[in-house]
């Protein structure tokens, strides 16, 4: 059995073994991370552990999506 075979609920229960930062650190780094992403820079290398946190934390993931969407809106307006 491989990770991709796991039921989504089991995946959310078990989480990932990847190193990840916590919610406070995610918030502290989120602005820099989003700007790096939108600039095409290697955000995951430059802010290690944030991507893994977004996978495990739906609330932080929603706020990351919103920040990216807002910045993208700004860039075209």
């Amino acid at each position: 059995m491989t990770g991709r075979d796991l039921d989504p609920t089991l995946k959310r229960l078990l989480g990932s073994n990847e190193p990840e930062i916590g919610c406070d650190e995610c918030f502290a780094q989120l602005d820099r991370y989003a700007e790096l992403e939108l600039a095409g820079a290697p955000a995951d290398d430059l802010v290690p552990g944030l991507r893994a946190h977004l996978v495990g934390c739906p609330a932080c993931a929603e706020e990351h999506e919103s920040l990216r969407a807002l910045l993208e809106l700004d860039s075209v307006s």
Partner: protein, 207 residues
């Protein structure tokens, strides 16, 4: 108050932050405009979870979020080190406040079930009737791990957050905690659960 991008970009970053630091009313008003724009953006994105609220009530929620975000930004101004633009840095405070308010409002009248037995229904959320024997064994190992490897508090939070779908901010409010502390608890619970399941014959969950 000027909440347009043009108004914001007319202030240089250095001047704006400096003016905020000395309490300039104009700078604070411009900050509030920026935060209100972000808060309205977030509330609009999440409005589907609040079908009972009118447009006026949704805007009041955004106004409250912008007010709280302004307080946070001004309190933490010294934390801004220029690693992003000030606008991006400020946005995240408004998005956080708005998102938390929307989640809590959406769950305000909903009961949060913290029944430790709820995870027993996990079998019914599995891959379905075509489960092979290995999936069945994995589910049994997970159920056993939830029952025996976690502390009561870890079990309560894991079940509520993952199986009940309770937002972490709602859980934090009900449990008199905060998002960071609850996520750490959730993270530790997942690590314990993976260790238990790996020891039960599924080492790949810990790879």
């Amino acid at each position: 108050m000027d909440d347009t991008n043009e108004g914001v970009s007319a202030i240089t970053l250095e001047n704006w932050v400096d003016e905020l630091a000395v309490g300039s009313e104009d700078a604070v008003a411009r900050l509030h405009g920026l935060l209100l724009r972000a808060a309205r953006f977030e509330v609009f994105r999440r409005r589907g979870s609040l079908p009972q609220l009118s447009a006026v009530e949704l805007d009041e929620l955004a106004q409250d979020a912008a007010d709280d975000a302004a307080v946070s930004v001004l309190r933490r101004l010294e934390d801004f080190r220029g690693e992003s633009s000030f606008r991006t840095w400020a946005y995240k405070f408004a998005l956080l406040e708005a998102a938390v308010k929307v989640r809590r409002r959406a769950w305000r009248d909903r009961e949060v079930t913290l029944e430790p037995e709820h995870w027993e229904s996990l079998a019914h959320t599995g891959p379905g009737p075509d489960d092979d024997a290995e999936n069945g064994e994995l589910l049994a190992a997970v159920r056993e791990g939830i029952r025996t490897a976690l502390t009561p508090r870890q079990r309560q939070v894991l079940v509520a957050a993952v199986l009940e779908g309770v937002p972490i901010d709602v859980l934090a409010e009900r449990l008199d905690s905060n998002r960071n502390a609850l996520y750490k608890l959730l993270h530790d619970a997942r690590r314990r659960l993976r260790a238990h399941v790996a020891a039960a014959g599924f080492p790949e969950v810990n790879e």
